[in-house]
């Protein structure tokens, strides 16, 4: 049977510090990362993303659990014995070496013949489009170029898995967008498994094959960007990925009764108290005279160029945000304090059991 799982972490625990002051950076994390996929770890600051990456790289040893690489147990191997390379956030390029020597460093340490090191270095330089910079010192490069060297250096030894810890966070927005496309291209061209860390949800959604959402040392949900966005498993995932409206409700037969008293339909659930979620772009404004529309008042209008965010208040005070496409004339004909009717696109309503 061919191995289709690149990295498998099972019940990984990582605690820092001693006994009662210990911090559980990772709390029973299990995940399977498939061969050749672009996998993103997404979560707020301090949730344990870097820690998980460092465990896979071998810079830290887990307090519990195991880590397999293509089926082999690597839990206790030191970093220089793992066919896994890292692109560091700070790049960590060697200042005493040229661009080419930096890229060839890994292969040289592996004791590969000179000819092979040179050939691979040349290939990597072409891959990241730095052929003309081969003999420069790394301090003479721009941030984006250093980033490319760091990538080429980590890719040169053809690792089984490439780990990237927020590699784009030091770049300005324009360069960042360019590098996102560049990274995706490199991943497709090399076919190497990428594990990418970010706390930028947009970056995660646009680049990944699958995303693992983390919070407080736990993996909350693993799935494709569409699954994560459209079917978040809990409140944390729903609010962390994109913006969303939360509507507290109670089950009433096959329907749900919102706290403002109005009944609406949504997928079935067993819990008595639930939270319904709807993305702002799935909220429609209609005339307040329309039957079975929720009565609401406009409390705020925020103009974003392509669209306008309309903040609404339901009779019980619940806040709802609707994202409306800005009309051609630039005037949606809405005013503060105006009474309107609100409708949700029925298929877009999600039920979260509290």
């Amino acid at each position: 049977m061919t191995q289709t799982i690149a990295v498998e972490a099972s019940h990984v625990v990582k605690a820092f510090g001693h006994a009662d002051t210990a911090v559980r950076a990772l709390d029973d994390v299990s995940v399977q990362i498939r061969k050749g996929e672009f996998f993103t770890l997404l979560g707020p600051s301090g949730c344990g993303k870097t820690t998980l990456l460092r465990l896979i790289a071998g810079f830290e040893m887990p307090s519990g659990g195991t880590i397999l690489l293509e089926g082999a147990d690597i839990t206790t191997l030191p970093p220089n014995k793992r066919p896994v390379n890292t692109v560091f956030q700070s790049y960590a390029l060697f200042p005493h070496l040229t661009v080419a020597q930096n890229i060839g460093f890994g292969l040289e340490m592996l004791g590969r013949p000179k000819a092979e090191v040179q050939a691979t270095t040349a290939r990597m330089l072409a891959l990241v489009k730095l052929e003309t910079m081969a003999s420069r010192k790394t301090s003479q490069l721009s941030g984006g170029q250093q980033q490319r060297v760091a990538l080429a250096r980590a890719l040169a030894p053809s690792p089984k898995v490439l780990l990237l810890d927020e590699p784009l966070s030091a770049l300005d927005l324009k360069l960042r967008k360019e590098m996102q496309i560049e990274l995706k291209r490199l991943q497709t061209e090399t076919g190497i498994t990428f594990i990418f860390v970010t706390h930028d949800q947009e970056e995660a959604l646009t680049m990944s094959d699958r995303i693992g959402v983390m919070s407080a040392g736990k993996l909350q949900q693993v799935g494709s960007p569409k699954e994560i966005y459209n079917n978040p498993v809990n409140r944390f995932v729903a609010s962390f990925i994109g913006e969303t409206n939360f509507l507290p409700a109670s089950r009433d037969g096959d329907m749900y009764r919102l706290d403002c008293g109005i009944k609406i339909g949504a997928p079935p659930s067993k819990a008595a108290r639930v939270t319904l979620t709807v993305r702002p772009e799935q909220v429609r404004l209609v005339a307040d005279s329309e039957a079975d529309a929720l009565p609401a008042k406009i409390t705020n209008l925020v103009y974003f160029g392509t669209d306008t965010h309309c903040h609404l208040s339901l009779p019980d005070g619940t806040e709802v945000v609707a994202r409306l496409q800005s009309p051609a004339t630039g005037d949606a004909g809405l005013a503060l304090g105006q009474s309107v009717g609100v409708r949700f696109v029925p298929e877009a309503i999600q039920v979260l059991e509290d």
């Binding site: 970093p79 560091f88 060697f94 460093f105």
Partner: protein
């Protein structure tokens, strides 16, 4: 680059030179000047009263390098002088190497402490400088002499039955000099290691370097300026050391420094 920018760069370069001017003047007067005088004097003939005559002569150099046979006036290498010279170089080299071997881990240790602890450790390293060299050297003498601390301890532990002859040997001189000059190795090494980006270690380790290769291929090349500075700071004064070889080497294990003192002070040469 625009001409204005060019101008600014040459301007700041000029300012740099101006700033270092006082140091350069002092260095020329105090260090380079006397050296030139000594070299010139060495090629002049000696006068009657310890002065020199303005006449070119290689007598002084011949006197150091060769001995004139008293019977047939042929020249032979002055073995005694060359032995002193060779011993000085050998001991200074050994001292430098050993100071590096001891100093490097020490500097590494200090550079990896938290900032507050670092200041304390650096202070401890410089403490020997607060004591007179003579007193410190006598202290070593006290430890390693025949009836000294070290021999007493070893004998009481029954590790040896006879006291070891440590004092008045080349080894004693070497140990003493390493002790005296160690801080001069540690300080520049620390300065280099302090600026070393520790994240490079993980990068190298990640790229399949063994711990030894991390040391040889990443740490050493980057902190090289510190290694060179430390080595010069230890080697040069070791070569001219006077007090330590005198007290720990006794009369027989002379180094260049003692030889010079002998010639200058006593031989009026």
């Amino acid at each position: 680059m625009s001409p204005a920018e060019q101008d600014q760069i040459t301007q700041s370069a000029r300012n740099g030179w101006l700033l270092s001017a006082p140091a350069l003047v002092l260095l020329t007067l105090a260090a380079v000047g006397p050296l030139i005088i000594v070299v010139i004097y060495s090629f002049l003939a000696p006068g009657e009263t310890g002065n020199v005559e303005w006449k070119f002569s290689t007598d002084a150099w011949q006197g150091i390098l060769f001995t004139r046979d008293i019977f047939d006036d042929t020249l032979a290498w002055a073995d005694a002088n060359l032995t002193i010279f060779w011993r000085s170089v050998k001991l200074s080299l050994l001292t430098t190497i050993f100071a590096f071997v001891v100093g490097f881990p020490t500097s590494w240790f200090i550079a990896t402490r938290p900032p507050k602890a670092r200041a304390l450790w650096l202070f401890l390293i410089t403490i020997p400088f607060w004591t007179n060299l003579l007193i410190r050297t006598f202290a070593i003498n006290e430890i390693i002499r025949r009836e000294g601390l070290l021999n007493t301890i070893l004998i009481n532990l029954h590790l040896i039955s006879q006291p070891l002859d440590m004092i008045y040997t080349d080894t004693a001189v070497f140990i003493g000099m390493t002790y005296v000059y160690l801080p001069l190795m540690v300080l520049p090494l620390f300065a280099s290691l302090d600026r070393f980006d520790m994240r490079l270690l993980e990068a190298a380790y990640d790229l399949y370097a063994s711990p030894w290769q991390v040391l040889r291929k990443v740490i050493m090349p980057i902190v090289n300026p510190g290694i060179i500075a430390g080595s010069i700071l230890v080697f040069v004064p070791s070569l001219g050391a006077y007090v330590t070889p005198r007290l720990l080497g006794g009369g027989k294990n002379m180094m260049i420094g003692n030889f010079i003192e002998l010639q200058f002070g006593q031989g009026r040469n």
